[in-house]
C-alpha cells in the first residue's frame, strides 16, 4: 500500500503542473506586454517631477511631499515588469504566478500615476479617502452577494436592493430623520431579500429571472416616484446626511488615518459588517451550516439542517446589507434621491464578490480596487491627462473581465450555487 500512496502523490503533483504552467506562460506574456506599454507610452522623457502630497496642511503631523522623477521611475518600472514577465514566461514559473501578477499590476498603476502626475502635484491622502468612500456601496453589495451565494442563491437583485435602499433612505430620512431613514432602508432591503427568497426557494423560479424582475420593478417604481412625486413635493426628498466622525488619535495617523478613521457610519458599518460576516461564516456553527447548504444541500438536509429556512434567512440578511449599502447613496452622500442613482454598483458588487472569491474580506479588497479606479478616474480628470476619463472609468470593468475570466486562477463558487433544492 505504501508504494501506491507515494505513486499517487508524485503523479498528482505532475498533473497540476500542466495547467499551472500554461497559466504562468500567459501571465508572463501579458506582463511583458505591459512592460512595453509602460516603456513606450508612459516613459516620459525630460526631467519632469511627479509630486505626491502625503498629508494636508491642517494635519497634526505633516509629512513632506513625495517627489519622484517621472522618466527614470517609469524606466525602472518597465524593467521590473519585464523581468517579472520574462521569469514567468521562461521558467514557466509554477510558483508565485498570482503574486507576480498582482505585483506587476501594482507597478503598472504606480507608473501610470507617476506619468499622469508628471510636472504636477497630486494628493495621495485625498485619493485614498475617496477610494474608501467609493468602495463602500460596492463592498456592501459584494457582501450581500457573499451571504446569498454562500447558501447557493444567486442574487442578481442586489442592484435593485441598493436602489430601493437609496430611495427609502431619502424618503424616510426626509420624514423621520437620518436614523429613521437608515432603519427603513435596511428593512426595505430585507423585505426584497425575503421576496427574492420566496420566489426562488419556495416557488423555484429561475434565480436570474427573479433577480432581473426585482431590478426592473425597483427601477421603474423609484423612477416614477422621483420624477412624478418628488418633483412637486421636494420636502419628501431632502434627507439629512450622516457627517463624518473623526476618531481621535487614530485619524491623525499619516496617509491611512483619514482613509480609515475620519469617515461616516457607512464606512465604519461596512468594515464592521465584513468583520462580523467573516467570523460568522467561518467560525460559528450557523456559518458552517450555511456553507454546507451552499455546497451540498442534500448532505445538510440529511443531517437535519433546514435548507429552505437557511436560504430564507441568509437571502433576507443579504437584502438588509444591500439596503444599508443603498442608504449610502442618499443618507451617506447627497441627501436626495435621483433616478437610477446606483448606476450598476450592485453588479460591480457581484463582480467584487467573484473577484474576492466569495469571501467577505476578499469582496472588500476587490471593492477597494474598484473604488480606487473610480476615484482615480475622478482625480485624473482634474490633472488633465490626455486620456478621456471615460476610458479610465472603464478600467474596473476591464479588470473584472480579466479576473473573472480566470487569468488569476479559477475562482470556485459554492458547488450548489444557483441550483434550487428539491427535497426528495
Amino acid at each position: 500500500m505504501t508504494v501506491a500512496t507515494t505513486n499517487t502523490a508524485t503523479a498528482s503533483g505532475q498533473k497540476l503542473d500542466v495547467g499551472k504552467q500554461r497559466r504562468a506562460r500567459i501571465t508572463g506574456a501579458v506582463m511583458i506586454g505591459l512592460a512595453l506599454l509602460v516603456l513606450l507610452v508612459l516613459g516620459v522623457d525630460g526631467g519632469e517631477q511627479a509630486t505626491f502630497r502625503l498629508s494636508r496642511p491642517t494635519d497634526t503631523w505633516v509629512l513632506p511631499d513625495l517627489v519622484v522623477p517621472a522618466g527614470p521611475f517609469n524606466y525602472v518600472a518597465a524593467t521590473v515588469l519585464a523581468f517579472l514577465g520574462a521569469r514567468q514566461f521562461l521558467q514557466g514559473g509554477v510558483r508565485w504566478t498570482s503574486l507576480s501578477l498582482g505585483f506587476g499590476l501594482a507597478i503598472l498603476v504606480m507608473a501610470f500615476l507617476v506619468w499622469a502626475t508628471a510636472g504636477k502635484a497630486f494628493s495621495l491622502t485625498g485619493m485614498l479617502q475617496a477610494t474608501m468612500v467609493r468602495a463602500v456601496p460596492i463592498a456592501l453589495g459584494g457582501l450581500a452577494g457573499v451571504l446569498c451565494e454562500r447558501v447557493a442563491v444567486v442574487n442578481i437583485a442586489i442592484e435593485g436592493m441598493l436602489l430601493a435602499g437609496a430611495f427609502t433612505g431619502a424618503l424616510m430620512g426626509s420624514l423621520l430623520g437620518g436614523w429613521g431613514g437608515l432603519v427603513a432602508a435596511v428593512a426595505v432591503g430585507g423585505a426584497f431579500g425575503f421576496f427574492l427568497a420566496a420566489l426562488v426557494v419556495t416557488f423555484r423560479m429561475d434565480q436570474i429571472i427573479a433577480g432581473v424582475v426585482i431590478n426592473l420593478f425597483v427601477l421603474g417604481l423609484t423612477s416614477y416616484v422621483s420624477s412624478q412625486v418628488f418633483a412637486d413635493l421636494r420636502h419628501l426628498n431632502n434627507a439629512p446626511v450622516f457627517r463624518a466622525w473623526k476618531i481621535p488619535v487614530l485619524s491623525d495617523i499619516p496617509v491611512i488615518g483619514p482613509m480609515l478613521f475620519y469617515q461616516n457610519i457607512f464606512v465604519y458599518g461596512a468594515l464592521i459588517l465584513v468583520a462580523i460576516a467573516t467570523y460568522y461564516l467561518f467560525h460559528t456553527r450557523s456559518g458552517l451550516r450555511a456553507r454546507a447548504v451552499g455546497e451540498h444541500p442534500r448532505a445538510a438536509d440529511t443531517l437535519g439542517v433546514n435548507v429552505y429556512r437557511t436560504r430564507y434567512i441568509h437571502v433576507t440578511l443579504g437584502g438588509m446589507v444591500a439596503g444599508f449599502g443603498g442608504a449610502w447613496f442618499t443618507l451617506g452622500s447627497v441627501g436626495r434621491f435621483d433616478e437610477n442613482m446606483t448606476g450598476g454598483r450592485g453588479f460591480i458588487g457581484l463582480a467584487a464578490m467573484i473577484f474576492g472569491r466569495w469571501h467577505p474580506v476578499g469582496a472588500l479588497a476587490a471593492a477597494l480596487v474598484f473604488g480606487f479606479a473610480d476615484s482615480l478616474q475622478q482625480k485624473l480628470a482634474l490633472l488633465r491627462t490626455p486620456i478621456p476619463s471615460e476610458f479610465l472609468a472603464m478600467s474596473p470593468y476591464i479588470a473584472t473581465i480579466i479576473v473573472v475570466a480566470g487569468l488569476v486562477g479559477k475562482a470556485r463558487p459554492p458547488a450548489a450555487d444557483g441550483k434550487p433544492y428539491v427535497k426528495e
Partner: protein
C-alpha cells in the same frame, strides 16, 4: 439494540415498492440484505432512517413501536444510514463534515473545531478507522471518504448502521479493509445492515441473509450453508448462470489502435497519460480500474467527444484522431456511453426518436430536411423486438422505461447497423440480472461477427466474465495486462493492479 419491521408496505402511486416486509435486525450481527436494483431495498432503508413514512406496518425499536416523522428521527433513535452516494461536503475537512448538524460550540455560537477533532480522534481509535480529521474531503480517496460517512453515523451514537451498496466504489483491496471495519463494529455490539446485490460479498460478511424481490422478502439464508446459486435464484426468481457463454476468441486484424495518447480533464489535469492499446477484430478487451482513473476520458477521446492533446487513434488503420463524432459513427464505431441519462439518450424524446439519434440524417429516414416518421417508427419497432426492449409503444417517452429497457434501447441503436468496433462503457451499471445477461450476450455476438469490442467497467466480475484480454488502468496508464484466453486470470492480481500496486 434490536429493530423490527412488521408488515411494512410502501406505495408510490400505483407502484408497490415494499409489500408487507418483515425484518429483524439484531445488535452484534451483520444482516445481509440481498436484492436487485428496484427490488425495494432502498425504499425500505429510507423508511428505517425516517426519510419515508410507511403506508402500513410498524417499526419496533427494542420492542417499542416508534413513528418517524422526518430524516432526523431515524438517527435520533440510533439508526444511522451510510448512503451509496456520499453525503459529504468536498471543501470541508473531515472533522467539519462529521460534526455538521451536531457541532460542539462555545460562546457566541463559536464553532469549537478543537473539541470536534478530539472527538473524531476518539472514535477513530475505538474502531481503527484511521482518518485524519484535518484532511479535506476532496483530497481523500473514496475508500477513506466512506469511513468518514461511517464516522458521521458513529459520532451521532448510532447503534444500527445501514450500509447501502457500500462496496460499489471500492477496489477489491479496499473491500477487504472495509470488511475488517464492519467486523470490528459488529464485535462492538452494533447492528449492521449490509445492502448489496453482490453474492460473494454477502456470503463473506453476513451472519444472516434476507433476500428481497419485487418488494417482498422472498427468502432467508444462513451464509454457512446457502450457496450462491440458491441466493441468485431467490433474488432473480429463476435459475441464473453466471458464466457468460462464449467460445475462445479468434482475433483478426487490428481494429483500434491507440498510440501514446494524452488527454486532459477540464481543469488541465492529466486524465490519460501516454497510453497505448490495441483492439483486434473478434476479441473483447476489457479495461478494469477504479472509477476516476481516466477511463471516461479515454472513451471520450476514442469516440471523438474530447480532443487529445497528444498521440493518435487509428481505426482500421485510418487516423481518426481529429475526425468528427459522426465520421467515426459512419465508419462503424458504436458507442454505449457510461451514463445513459447524461449522454446515451434524451429522456423527453420518444423511444422511436431515441432509436434514430445517430442515423436520422441517413437517406433511409430523411428526405432532404424532412424526416420520414413512418419509416422511423417502423424501424424503431423492429429494433425493439430485436433487442428485447419492453415498451408498450415506440411513442412512449424514453424516460418512462425501466433502466434495463432504456439501456437495451441504447444498445439497440448502437448495434443495429454495420459496426466494426464497439466501445461499451459501464454497459450494465444499475441493471437487473436479466438485462445484464442479455446485453452481455449481445456484446459477445458482436465479437463473434468480427467486431472489435472494448469494454470499460468498474465491475470486476463483468470484466472477468467478458474479456479475452484484460487491461488495468490506474492514474491514466495501463499498468497491467492479463490474457484470459490462456486460462483463468487471477482475480487478486487484477485487484492489486487496480489499486496501483503494479505501477
Amino acid at each position: 439494540m434490536d429493530v423490527e419491521l412488521r408488515g411494512i408496505t410502501k406505495r408510490f402511486g400505483p407502484v408497490v415498492a415494499n409489500d408487507g416486509v418483515n425484518l429483524t435486525i439484531r445488535g452484534g450481527e451483520v444482516l445481509g440484505l440481498l436484492g436487485e436494483n428496484g427490488a425495494g431495498k432502498s425504499t425500505m432503508m429510507n423508511i428505517l432512517s425516517g426519510l419515508y413514512r410507511p403506508d402500513e406496518g410498524e417499526i419496533l425499536v427494542n420492542g417499542k413501536a416508534v413513528v418517524f416523522e422526518g430524516p432526523g428521527d431515524g438517527i435520533s433513535a440510533g439508526i444511522g444510514m451510510v448512503h451509496q452516494h456520499f453525503m459529504l461536503v468536498p471543501v470541508f475537512t473531515v472533522a467539519e463534515n462529521v460534526v455538521l448538524g451536531v457541532e460542539p460550540t462555545g460562546r457566541l455560537d463559536y464553532l469549537d473545531l478543537k473539541t470536534a477533532r478530539e472527538q473524531v480522534r476518539e472514535i477513530n481509535d475505538e474502531y481503527g478507522l484511521e482518518v485524519d480529521p484535518d484532511a479535506l474531503i476532496e483530497n481523500l480517496p473514496v475508500g477513506i471518504q466512506q469511513r468518514v460517512e461511517i464516522l458521521k453515523v458513529l459520532f451521532r451514537s448510532a447503534d444500527v448502521l445501514i450500509l447501502d451498496e457500500p462496496t460499489a466504489v471500492l477496489t477489491p483491496q479496499e473491500v477487504d479493509e472495509f470488511f475488517e471495519i464492519v467486523k470490528s463494529l459488529r464485535d462492538a455490539g452494533k447492528a449492521i445492515v449490509f445492502i448489496t446485490h453482490k453474492l460473494h460479498e454477502i456470503l463473506e460478511i453476513s451472519d444472516r441473509i434476507s433476500v428481497l424481490r419485487g418488494g417482498r422478502i422472498t427468502g432467508e439464508g444462513d451464509p454457512k450453508t446457502v450457496t450462491t446459486e440458491e441466493l441468485a435464484e431467490m433474488m432473480v426468481g429463476r435459475p441464473v448462470s453466471f458464466e457468460v457463454d462464449k467460445t475462445p476468441s479468434q482475433p483478426g486484424e487490428s481494429m483500434l489502435e491507440v498510440r501514446d495518447l494524452v488527454v486532459l480533464r477540464d481543469n488541465d489535469e492529466i486524465a490519460v497519460d501516454h497510453l497505448s492499446l490495441n483492439v483486434r477484430s473478434g476479441e473483447v478487451v476489457g479495461i478494469a480500474g477504479v472509477q476516476g482513473n481516466g477511463q471516461s476520458a479515454l472513451v471520450e477521446a476514442i469516440t471523438g467527444l474530447t480532443r487529445p492533446v497528444h498521440g493518435e487513434i487509428l481505426f482500421q488503420g485510418a487516423d481518426i484522431t481529429r475526425s468528427s463524432v459522426r465520421a467515426r459513427h459512419r465508419m462503424g464505431m458504436a458507442h454505449i456511453p457510461e451514463d445513459r441519462h447524461k449522454s446515451g439518450m434524451i429522456s423527453n424524446f420518444t423511444v422511436a426518436e431515441n432509436m434514430v439519434l445517430n442515423s436520422y440524417y441517413a437517406p433511409a429516414f430523411s428526405n432532404g430536411p424532412q424526416i420520414d416518421w413512418r419509416r422511423v417508427n417502423q424501424t424503431a419497432a423492429k429494433f425493439c423486438v430485436d433487442f428485447d426492449v419492453r415498451t408498450p409503444s415506440v411513442f412512449l417517452r424514453a424516460g418512462n422505461l425501466s433502466g434495463g429497457n432504456q439501456q437495451k434501447m441504447v444498445v439497440a441503436r448502437e448495434l443495429e447497423r454495420e459496426t466494426r468496433l464497439v466501445i461499451a462503457a459501464q454497459p450494465t451499471r444499475g441493471l437487473d440480472v436479466g438485462s445484464i445477461e442479455y446485453i452481455h450476450e449481445r456484446l459477445i455476438a458482436s465479437r463473434d461477427e468480427g467486431d472489435g469490442v472494448l469494454i470499460v467497467s468498474s465491475e470486476l466480475d463483468e470484466i472477468m466474465g467478458l474479456s479475452d484480454r484484460i487491461l488495468v488502468m490506474f492514474e491514466g496508464r495501463i499498468v497491467a495486462e492479463f490474457d484470459a484466453s490462456k486460462g483463468p486470470v487471477d482475480r487478486n492480481a487484477v485487484g492489486l493492479a487496480m489499486a496501483g500496486a503494479a505501477a
